[in-house]
């Protein structure tokens, strides 16, 4: 392994060693959502004609878990290394800012995909889910995880204390994921909130991902792919610039 591969490996090993907390926990949480919302709302809510509500929930929950865990991986790894001071071991190495970016975001993608796949596999035991457009599933999963891993990288660099990171997670990431149509179609919202939802990049990630399963969606999957791709490029540009300038790491 060369330098950046080692950093990627170390970042993956870091969450793998505490997989009970980083993988099993989020999968269980998603299962509880599925059981409770699915059970309570199955007979009352119909989003798409051919799709049961429980089946409708599965891709949204898988994507929500994937996004939250990708964010959590890069952000918590960085803030912990900063607070404990062991980031110095990486700062002393010849790794460039590109290497840092690829390794931290790469590990976040791996964790997001593992948790997302875990949610999906276990949900498949309860309900039947189809795969209308598998390539869209893969594309949105990988890009969504990369986008949130990159956002986590930025938040991890910015935050100096754990509570700042928790604030970012509770006041930005959580509302945006919940208000993105995980539990509903935005067409069921009043016009004003439908309009607002169109400014939420999380909506496009979940809507496009869901299209991969059912072949139906609220907006065109190509529009979603473009929005997610553009958002990814934007945050990656910001993250690379912060890493290059040594923002809050190299004074």
């Amino acid at each position: 392994m060369n330098g950046w591969q080692t950093l990627l490996y170390k970042e993956v090993l870091r969450f793998w060693k505490v997989a009970f907390q980083t993988i099993a926990g989020p999968v269980l949480t998603a299962m509880l959502y599925l059981l409770i919302f699915g059970h309570a709302l199955e007979d009352h809510v119909k989003v798409y004609d051919q799709v049961s509500y429980t089946a409708f929930l599965v891709p949204g929950l898988a994507m929500m878990s994937l996004l939250q865990n990708s964010f959590a991986n890069s952000s918590s790894s960085l803030i912990m290394s900063k607070v404990m001071g062991n980031l110095v071991f990486i700062m002393l190495t010849p790794l460039s800012y590109w290497h840092w970016f690829v390794a931290y975001v790469g590990a976040a993608v791996v964790r997001g995909l593992v948790v997302g796949a875990g949610v999906f596999v276990i949900s498949a035991l309860f309900t039947h889910v189809s795969f209308a457009q598998p390539l869209f599933i893969v594309a949105f999963a990988v890009m969504g995880a990369a986008l949130m891993g990159t956002l986590g990288l930025i938040a991890g660099l910015w935050a100096e204390k754990f509570d700042q990171l928790a604030a970012f997670q509770n006041f930005v990431v959580m509302p945006m994921t919940f208000l993105s149509g995980v539990f509903y179609s935005i067409h069921s919202l009043p016009a004003f909130w439908q309009g607002v939802s169109h400014f939420n990049p999380f909506f496009y990630m979940i809507d496009g991902f869901r299209y991969g399963f059912f072949g139906v969606s609220d907006v065109s999957p190509w529009l979603s792919l473009s929005v997610v791709g553009a958002a990814l490029l934007l945050v990656a540009g910001i993250a690379l610039q912060l890493l290059r300038s040594g923002y809050k790491i190299r004074s």
Partner: protein, 315 residues
């Protein structure tokens, strides 16, 4: 070629005191060259700028002006080549709680692209007395053991230039011995060593050359032997019950009851003892010893203490 070179390097931090925009110069226009194979000591009181100098060399901190290089490689423009040649033992006792000792060393090797490094890792573990801790998690190690791992991590990519930032602060005698034997061996094999320490006897025993830093400036730079020669060659040491008159105390170093007075010859010694007697005090346990690095250090620091209050602060 110089192993380590600082060229007119400065580092300004924004000052917590004073009006906004006030800066504090932690390192003030320092130029210093360290030859390959040297064992070099960087001494100075807390806040003198030692760690800032090392941080700039390691690329952890960026200089405000000037530059630094490792074996001819600029630490900013050519940072990858510079860092490959540099091993740094940080001052803080930091560790990654997710890994055991061997994992930590393997990962650190990997960052530098060093493959199949187990033979060297085993040698490092053996030399630093860590072999039986190889599979222990970092969290379970005592402070001294963590310090040894830090040394091993710094050396894992076989850097020709080694920097140790106060590696023996708060470390027991046994580890200090183990560590110094090991570092001295590496130095004999040709590694350049830059050391900062508070233990002056260590610097005296190990370092061929010494720079003394105060308020971000070099106030003394010479071979250790020359520095020792230049200082007063003898020290008169005794105990008194009571306070010395201020005029005498100003010339001496007083630590509780112990008084130490730098003296060049017998006449000075006689003169000083007479002055003590005249003040009504009795000198007990009188001895005369050779001056050591601590005397040189205190002497140099005292000479520059007048400037310290006004220097280093610019608006």
């Amino acid at each position: 070629m110089l192993a380590i070179s600082f060229q007119s390097i400065s580092k300004a931090y924004s000052s917590p005191k004073g009006p906004p925009g006030t800066t504090f110069l932690a390192v003030d226009n320092v130029s210093l060259g360290i030859e390959e194979g040297e064992f070099f000591g960087l001494l100075g009181p807390n806040g003198a700028g030692k760690t800032t100098m090392i941080s700039m060399l390691a690329g952890l901190t960026r200089p405000t002006s000037g530059s630094a290089s490792v074996l001819g490689h600029d630490v900013q423009k050519d940072f990858a080549a510079a860092r490959r040649r540099l091993g740094v033992v940080p001052q803080e006792l930091v560790f990654d709680p997710f890994f055991n000792v061997r994992e930590a060393l393997r990962i650190q090797s990997g960052y530098f692209g060093v493959k199949n490094n187990d033979a060297w890792i085993d040698e490092l573990l053996e030399s630093l007395g860590l072999t039986d801790k190889a599979d222990a998690n970092m969290r379970q190690l005592s402070g001294g053991m963590k310090r040894r791992v830090l040394v091993a991590q710094a050396l894992v990519h076989k850097p020709p230039v080694i920097v140790l930032d106060e590696p023996t602060a708060g470390v027991d005698v046994e580890l200090r011995q183990t560590l110094w034997q090991f570092i001295a061996k590496l130095n004999k094999q040709g590694h350049t060593v830059l050391l900062t320490t508070h233990y002056l006897e260590e610097a005296e025993a190990l370092c061929g050359r010494i720079a003394m830093l105060k308020s971000g400036r070099i106030v003394a730079l010479d071979h250790t032997s020359t520095l020792l020669k230049a200082a007063s060659s003898n020290v008169l040491r005794f105990k008194v019950d009571g306070d010395l008159p201020p005029a005498l105390a100003a010339q001496a170093r007083v630590t509780g009851r112990i008084v130490q007075f730098p003296a060049h010859d017998a006449l000075e010694i006689e003169h000083f003892l007479a002055a003590v007697r005249e003040s009504g005090l009795v000198a007990q346990d009188v001895e005369i010893r050779k001056a050591d690095l601590e005397d040189v250090f205190l002497d140099v620091m005292q000479k520059h203490s007048g400037q310290a209050a006004t220097e280093g602060v610019t608006v």
